[in-house]
């Protein structure tokens, strides 16, 4: 075996096992969605990582819902080939728009790696309007999201050809927060809502290795996701006569929580 092929094999096995140092993951999929309600509207996040059923495509997805509006914040797909000298397709979408694509024909053994850095972005959702007499309390809101996705494909071409193997990995780190803003003022009364909830902070690694001669690929997922930590509040102030300043009459937590955490067996959620 040549040095190049040996290196490729080691890397391929390392990818298949989850990390370069060989830590073992223990599941073939990760699918968690958690949410709450604020002002009668849904606030939630979902992380999905694994293999698309009955295909060899790997996927990592992040879905957010803010004030009832659903957004597909991240979809990363890697479709390795089924044959030697086939094409590997890589597709990344953010908020429904294609931001990255790659297609590579595997000609010889080797590894390709792509990094996609999705800068923090803020998307606003339609306003919810609430009339109180002549004043309209408009509650604005939205999501903030950022992610880093590293995609690796490797090919090891061997003879006989049925011993050739393909490996693919998606490493995704995604974080999203939902926020609300609302403010109304009518002479000596002012009121509003505000705050931010960390909808999700997740890392998910999906690894796949498939030998040409085998029917099914080996897929391993290691993932950890923390959900719904944060604080949304409402307040009402009245301008006081004697003190000539605003006096808080109401200070109410619409949502306040330290959040949940879920992880595959080889990862540990941080202590609270």
């Amino acid at each position: 075996m040549t040095k190049q092929k040996l290196r490729s094999l080691i890397l391929t096995l390392g990818l298949a096992l989850g990390t370069a140092d060989g830590a073992i993951a223990a599941t073939d999929s990760f699918n968690e969605t958690h949410g709450t309600e604020v002002l009668g509207k849904e606030l939630s996040a979902g992380i999905q990582a694994g293999q698309v059923a009955n295909t060899t495509t790997l996927q990592t997805k992040a879905k957010l819902t803010v004030l009832g509006v659903a957004m597909q914040a991240l979809t990363a797909l890697v479709s390795p080939p089924n044959t030697v000298r086939g094409t590997t397709y890589t597709e990344v979408y953010s908020f429904g728009k294609r931001i990255f694509t790659q297609s590579n024909v595997s000609q010889e053994s080797g590894m390709l790696k792509y990094s996609i850095g999705i800068s923090p972005t803020e998307l606003r959702v339609p306003v919810v309007a609430y009339p109180v007499g002549p004043v309209v309390l408009q509650v604005d809101g939205g999501a903030r999201f950022q992610a880093n996705v590293v995609i690796q494909n490797s090919t090891e071409i061997s003879f006989p050809i049925e011993y050739s193997a393909f490996a693919a990995q998606i490493q995704a780190r995604a974080a999203a927060a939902g926020f609300v803003e609302g403010y109304a003022k009518f002479f000596v009364v002012r009121a509003g809502v505000g705050g931010q909830v960390d909808l999700v902070d997740a890392q998910a690694n999906v690894n796949m290795r498939k030998t040409v001669g085998e029917a099914k690929p080996l897929v391993l997922v290691s993932a950890m996701a923390q959900f719904l930590k944060g604080h949304i509040y409402a307040f009402l102030d009245v301008f006081g006569l004697l003190k000539f300043g605003w006096r808080r009459l109401l200070d109410h937590d619409l949502y306040s929580w330290t959040g949940y955490c879920f992880a595959t067996e080889n990862l540990t959620c941080p202590a609270k």
Binding site: E37, V38, L39, G40, A53, N54, Q72, S94, G96, K97, R98, I99, F100, T101, Q102, S103, S115, I116, G117, I118, S119, P120, T121, E122, L123, R124, V127, V128, A129, Y130, P131, V132, G133, P134, V135, V136, Q138, Q146, R173, A175, A177, F179, E181, Y183, A184, F186, F187, V188, G192, G194, D198, D201, L236, F239, F244, G245, L249, L250, H252, L254
Partner: protein
Amino acid sequence: MPGKITKSLWQRGGFRLLAGALFVAGIGAVFASWTKSENVDRAPATLGEAVPEDFTGLRFHPAENFRYRYSFERKIEFRGFGNALPEVGYHGELTFDVLKAGEEGLEAVAQEKVEEYGGGMPSPLVKLSLTADGTNLKMFTTGKTATEEERQHIAVTKDLLSLWAFPLRKDTVGSYEATVQAQPAEAGQRVLKKTKLRYVEASAPVIVHSSHWMRWDEKTSLPGDLRGEETTKMGQKKNDLFSRTTYRLRLIAVEKIGMVKNIQFTKAEDMSLQREALMLAEHPDYAGLNWQAVLAQLRELEKMSANEQLSVFGDLVRLLKKDPALLKKLLAELPEADLRAGADSALFKTVIGALATLGSPEAQAALRSIFDDPNCPVSGKGSILAAFTTTQAPATPETRAFLAAKMGSEDKDVAQGAAFALGAALQGSAGDSAAVEKLRAAFRAERANNNLPGQLAMLDSMGNSGRAEYVPDLRETVASGNAELRARALFSLRFMNNAESADLISRGLSDPETMVRESATEAIKLASWNENFRAPLESCARGEKVSRIQASCGDILRAHPQMASN
């Protein structure tokens, strides 16, 4: 900020402050006799006769150069998040000086005086134009910069006008559906009752109860007496906001005034009350922001968790919106080391993200400049292009030209990223046919070369745009023999939102190829809902043989339950 309010209120005298504060505590006594003895729902004495639905038949036709004075009373009770809160109430006078009146309608200048605020100081003038049937109201102000207090007076005037123009189906929240019924006459005067059913906009609050009553004054051809009660709510259970508002307007005097002074009213006013950016500066999440503190946090980003970084990013965006002049200071804070690190630098990405989110022409120019910096690596360019693709801010013509030029980049990733960003930049805008043609020409060139990956990428670019000009090319590709191309073309129809694209996507649900059917479901998830999707989705949910596609069809149907027909 409280100091600012103190000075402005103090200038109008302490007595007015006293009046302003007292209303919160005890104004309920003003309404006590009215609310106890006159229940809106019992106003018609008897209901012996059948009443037709949706009846108005009113003609607003007062006399020119006359002043019509109304007294008004308004009370608001609200409960927020499980707590009972003090009532808010105010009363005063609303006057109309009629400029013109005829068969088509009337023009008048309206003004209100609220006794509780400013000691009855009159509000700014509002000119109104109302059609004779009372269903269409336009309003104008003088366009002079108004103080915050004057703007709130204009809000009060809009609110009162929306109540006074009884046949109108629009208020300060938005348009609504309502029924109007004739009631038995009182003292020979026509009486009508209006019930608001729901607001047209889905984001508007729920109307729990609505009852509006009007007695028409035949002598003046104007409403003589109006009263109403409305309850709205937002939220559920203990985290709800519930309000009950009541009002009364009564015509109390008619006076001849001679010619009305000629004043220019140049600014058209919308009935709905828009939150102003200026007011948002007083919001606690904005008021406490400090540039130096955010700057210090930017320098520590690498030590923070991803969500902590997002929190700093959010504060940075708020600061830049509040004070656009900070943009130059922000750019000065981006050191060369972080520029060279590109997407590996949290500071670089946060600055890029803030500029793209802000989206002002200056911010977009800064992004282009960073992109073209020789020290900016490919990863950084990729992040900038991705930011241009996902931002909600409209792209300037300069940015669109920039992206079109970068499609010719030698780096394939940069060229494709620029095409994706250019497609997204065309979404929601009309025109720029040159950019539309550039993407179309690039797609056709790839097709002529039989370059499958190139065609797929250009289909994605067209799909990002949602522009209907691409439907013919996509239709042609959907009919092609290549399953990958068919699937991608179907998905590219997702933002086009017209009948033909909806029809093509729906047909894709019965394509013989699995990837095409799956692509159709993904397109429907992102498209604006169209009822024409329902039947093919139901068929898919019943009989699709690939379980994940069948599950997707079911999920989409559950997210769009069928509305019960009335």
